[in-house]
């Protein structure tokens, strides 16, 4: 064996068990004997991975396969049915889009059902909290307002909202929020989505054996479905949730495992849909529940969250974030979680097995997401308060079963709640709400551009490091960062979501703007469906003027450094289809298909003005994003910061003479 190979092997062996920069996890593993039950242990056991699967060139669509298609090996150039690697990878890629779009949109559908039931008075406990936002959506759906009652308007809005899923002809009404030029481009490219379900079904049809084999044509349908997600399902979920639970406004929160309380009943809510968790937030404050907790020996009830359900209730109630995706098992390992209440998406199948080693009760609540070994308490929106009480009681009653508890003393404050409406308000105030100050400061060079850094955690890379390093690099270069999802949780834990982070980490121009407005340099915009808020912020920047007439002309870029889910691919692709340069890290699912990869990384810029890119290292990702932002600044003619010149009379006369 060559020396360097030995060295590599030795390095691999020395790799720590938990590859993370999260101080709470590191503290936990130094103080608790953790059985080999975590995702870090399982990822080692799963290695090495199937290289065909990793490169996107394994096809198992029909039973003549699975086929491993490899363009670099003559005998493996075609699958049994005759398609090459580009077709296989394109089919796999848009099936990922279909999966992601389905997840976001089914979330929206569930929200719409609850919304409609609430509007009809059939869901006690739910109400229309933000009437102004209801009127906004009513206008989008051409629902007349006049003197009609809130209930009347809400019923019609709810019905129209439900309609976007089964619509056959389209376009989805919310696509009309996009810049005019973008809408025209989508229409010309055949990318305007008809109905959410139709686009997803069409992907499943086209990728069936023997249907669509042209990667360009496949990607066109992938784009249409992704747009149906971003400007349809995800956007509708955000809007309806804001109307029912309140549009987020700046609010103080806390983050990381240190938010768990040793002397209190800890309930951790995890998943993505906020309907149940909103009720739990109310129920844990019920004196009857607090009294019950005291009777069981606890001092009270502490509610915290993991993943995007956490982001939802942080944004609206300031409920603390216990952690992101890779911390769900770790929260249980503290021994302090009396119940982990899960809804849908990003749940690990291991939760009940991990819980068995401690005392946590894992409670599934959605008929669409059951886990073997967990207790199921079905959430009924028509009886939401009672469901929430049943869950909270189960958690309280489990408190006396605790064994050893170790809660890392690690937590960090953050400010959340930056909806695009709130940014508009903060930049201009009630009477002159505006994105003009942002555009002006981009034009004058104080702010270089804007980046959306979003997405998951992935156990294949160092947990949180990808998010934190990238975001620090961006803000140091005067790029304002907008965040959602687990990426936002990572940066919250690192202290980047506090106003004083501007002085510590941001470049001088960005710091100056943050100080003036009183915002952090990294803005938490919510959960993963709330990436639609980033689309709206970008659209406001376009419509404000001065930075071109389309999203593709803006000095902006997107990234998901630690992505892992199909939802991330759908999100990434709706940003690309909306004109945004988007960089992913960790791994890329089409590397075995050179023509398709070239289409996504280069060709798509010709089609939508946005494109994909991939880089492993954070500094390379940052540099690529900054280079792109500078390229756009150059195209806009604002590449150099311009000094303000005060004209004297002589200079004015010279101008007049000219």
């Amino acid at each position: 064996m060559a020396d360097n190979e030995k060295e590599k092997k030795a390095q691999k062996q020395e790799k720590p068990r938990f590859t993370t920069v999260d101080a709470a996890i590191l503290d936990l593993c130094n103080n608790v004997e953790i059985p080999e039950i975590t995702c870090w242990d399982r990822t080692k056991k799963q290695s090495p991975r199937c290289s065909f699967g990793e490169k996107g060139i394994c096809c198992r669509i029909c039973s003549m396969g699975p086929c491993r298609v490899d363009e670099s090996r003559e005998k493996l150039k075609y699958g049994v049915c005759g398609v090459d690697s580009n077709t296989v990878a394109a089919r796999n890629f848009i099936r990922m889009i279909a999966g992601g779009a389905a997840a976001h949109s089914d979330h929206a559908r569930a929200g719409a059902e609850t919304f409609l039931a609430a509007a009809k008075g059939e869901a006690p406990g739910y109400a229309i909290k933000d009437e102004q936002k209801l009127l906004q959506l009513a206008m989008d759906f051409d629902v007349s307002v006049g003197d009609r009652s809130v209930q009347d308007i809400a019923i019609e809005v709810g019905e129209k909202g439900m309609g976007i899923f089964g619509e056959q002809f389209g376009p989805i009404p919310l696509t009309k929020r996009a810049p005019l030029k973008r809408q025209k481009l989508w229409a010309e490219q055949g990318m305007l989505p008809r109905g959410v379900d139709r686009e997803i079904v069409e992907i499943m049809h086209r990728t069936h054996i023997g249907v669509d084999m042209d990667p360009v044509n496949l990607m066109q349908q992938g784009s249409r479905a992704a747009i149906a997600d971003g400007w349809g399902g995800s956007m509708l979920a955000t809007e309806l949730q804001d109307i029912m639970f309140g549009t987020p406004v700046p609010i103080l929160g806390r983050s990381n495992l240190g938010v768990l309380e040793k002397e209190q009943v800890n309930i951790v809510i995890h998943g993505h849909e906020p309907s149940l968790s909103e009720m739990i937030v109310a129920v844990v404050q019920d004196p009857e529940m607090i009294e019950r907790a005291k009777q069981k020996g606890a001092q009270g009830i502490n509610l915290a969250g993991i993943c995007c359900t956490a982001n939802e209730i942080l944004m609206r109630h300031g409920v603390p974030l216990a952690g992101n995706f890779l911390q769900q098992e770790m929260a249980i390992i503290t021994g302090a979680v009396d119940a982990m209440v899960v809804d849908v998406q990003c749940l690990m199948g291991s939760l009940p097995r991990v819980a068995e080693c401690f005392h946590t009760k894992v409670i599934t609540t959605n008929y669409r997401a059951k886990i073997p070994g967990a207790t199921h308490i079905q959430f009924e929106e028509h009886d939401a308060v009672e469901t929430a009480k049943k869950i909270v009681r189960a958690a309280i009653d489990n408190f006396p079963n605790r064994k050893e508890v170790y809660i890392p003393d690690v937590e960090c404050d953050l400010i959340g709640g930056f909806s695009h409406e709130t940014i508009n308000y903060l930049l201009g105030g009630m009477f002159r709400a505006s994105y003009k100050p942002l555009n002006d400061n981009i034009i004058n060079g104080r702010i270089l551009g804007v980046a959306g850094v979003v997405g998951c955690n992935n156990v294949k890379c160092e947990h949180d490091a990808g998010h934190i390093d990238l975001v620090k690099e961006l803000i140091a270069n005067n790029v304002l960062v907008l965040q959602t999802g687990c990426s936002a949780v990572a940066c919250a834990k690192a202290g980047l979501m506090l106003p004083e982070a501007a002085a510590k980490y941001a470049g001088p121009g960005l710091a100056e703007v943050c100080e003036t407005v009183g915002i952090p340099p990294v803005l938490h915009m919510g959960s993963c469906v709330d990436n639609s808020r980033i689309l709206m912020a970008a659209t406001a920047m376009v419509k404000q003027g001065g930075l071109g007439d389309d999203i593709s002309g803006l000095p902006v870029a997107g990234a998901a450094p630690e992505w892992m889910s199909e939802k991330a691919i759908s999100i990434g692709h709706y940003f690309v289809a909306s004109g945004v340069y988007t960089v992913f890290g960790t791994t890329w699912p089409t590397t075995g298909a050179s023509e398709l990869t070239d289409l996504l990384f280069n060709g798509y810029e010709e089609i939508t003005g946005g494109k994909w890119d991939f880089a492993l290292e954070s500094n390379v990702q940052a540099q690529k994003m900054i280079d792109h932002i500078k390229k756009k600044r150059e195209a806009l003619g604002i590449e150099k910061a311009r000094k303000r010149i005060l004209y004297d009379m002589a200079m004015r006369r010279e101008l007049d003479a000219g």
Binding site: D130, E131, Q132, L135, Q136, M139, D140, V145, R177, P179, L180, K181, Q183, K184, A187, G246, T247, V249, P250, I251, L252, G318, D413, I415, G417, E421, T422, N424, Y425, G428, M430, F431, A433, Y435, L498, P499, E500, A502, A503, A511, E512, E515, G518, P520, T539, A540, V542, K543, Q544, G545, G546, L547, G548, D549, R644, L646
Partner: protein, 71 residues
């Protein structure tokens, strides 16, 4: 109270001047910034849609899209 910091900057006349630097008082609001509660009635809500959210809801096309025909 946060310590005051002074920084040197160039004034509009080109002279070097010393001004108060950034303060970054810890941004930890005790209560949420409930700006959306300021709307008193539907009229105000609709008015704000046309002014504050004018990018989408003004009667006229706005900013970069002014004078353009709909797509």
């Amino acid at each position: 109270m946060v310590d005051e910091k002074k920084v040197k900057k160039e004034s509009w006349t080109g002279e070097d001047v010393e001004v108060l630097g950034e303060t970054y008082a810890e941004g930890k609001p005790d209560t949420p910034v409930l700006w959306r509660k300021k709307f008193k009635n539907r009229e105000e809500m609709l008015k704000y849609l046309k002014s504050g959210e004018r990018y989408w809801f003004s009667d006229d096309w706005y900013g970069s899209e002014k004078r353009k025909t709909p797509a």
